[in-house]
């Protein structure tokens, strides 16, 4: 692994189903983030974690949950998917505690809820 790995790369999901998007990084970054990207809306923050064991809500957290059991992994769970959650999801990480650090992004998960 080099950087951030997201899985799956794409998924078609029936409405009402539960789904976990996986994100793993090997850079020992302490902060991790989940964004969704929608046409015309740019990237919107769903949830974040500044360090293992802590999480916080972003701009659009409803319908999503996260956990941060360790430094490397930051899964995003949709408990009961709805069509409005059709989007491209990006996981990102960086060293927290200083705004000088840029993000490293994963390649994204394209999710379609039907």
């Amino acid at each position: 692994i080099a950087g951030i790995t997201q899985a799956p790369t794409s998924q078609i999901l029936a409405a009402g189903r539960r789904m976990t998007l996986r994100c793993t990084q090997d850079m020992r970054h302490n902060a991790m983030y989940w964004y969704r990207q929608d046409l015309g809306l740019g990237l919107r923050l769903i949830h974040y974690s500044n360090t293992a064991g802590t999480t916080g809500k972003g701009e659009v957290p409803d319908g999503y949950s996260v956990s941060r059991a360790n430094t490397d992994d930051f899964p995003l769970t949709l408990a009961s998917a709805v069509p409005s959650q059709t989007s491209v999801y990006f996981c990102a990480s960086r060293m927290a505690g200083g705004s000088n650090y840029g993000y490293t992004f994963g390649s994204g998960t394209r999710l379609t809820v039907v």
Partner: protein, 113 residues
């Protein structure tokens, strides 16, 4: 409060001509500013960043940006566009005071042959 505005949602230039992607920001504190590029069906890649050192920042692929505090701008430029530059570009502002990160809505760059 912080905000970032990318002034153009789409920009079209001919191959070999200069590129200008505009970004204005608002920040109560000394900001750090970034430009990211996203090629189709790919993740975002860091192009360059400004973090209170030199105001003219050089990035990858021949891009550069100049931080102008008086104009609250951080426009991205390239002297000569290449077909491979066709992508979406995001301006990002952060502030050490809040560590909050704000993305612009993106500018899609089209390169005409």
């Amino acid at each position: 409060a912080q905000s970032v505005t990318q002034l153009d949602s789409h920009v079209s230039v001919s191959e070999g001509t200069p590129v200008l992607l505009r970004c204005n920001y608002s920040s109560s504190y000394s900001p750090s500013l970034f430009w990211y590029v996203q090629h189709p069906n790919k993740g975002l890649q860091l192009l360059l960043k400004y973090t209170s050192a030199a105001t003219l920042v050089k990035g990858i692929n021949g891009f550069e940006a100049e931080f102008k505090k008086s104009e609250t701008s951080f426009h991205l430029t390239k002297p000569s566009a290449h077909m491979s530059d066709a992508a979406e570009y995001f301006c990002v502002v952060t502030s050490g005071a809040s560590d909050k990160i704000i993305f612009g809505k993106g500018t899609r760059l089209h390169i005409l042959p």
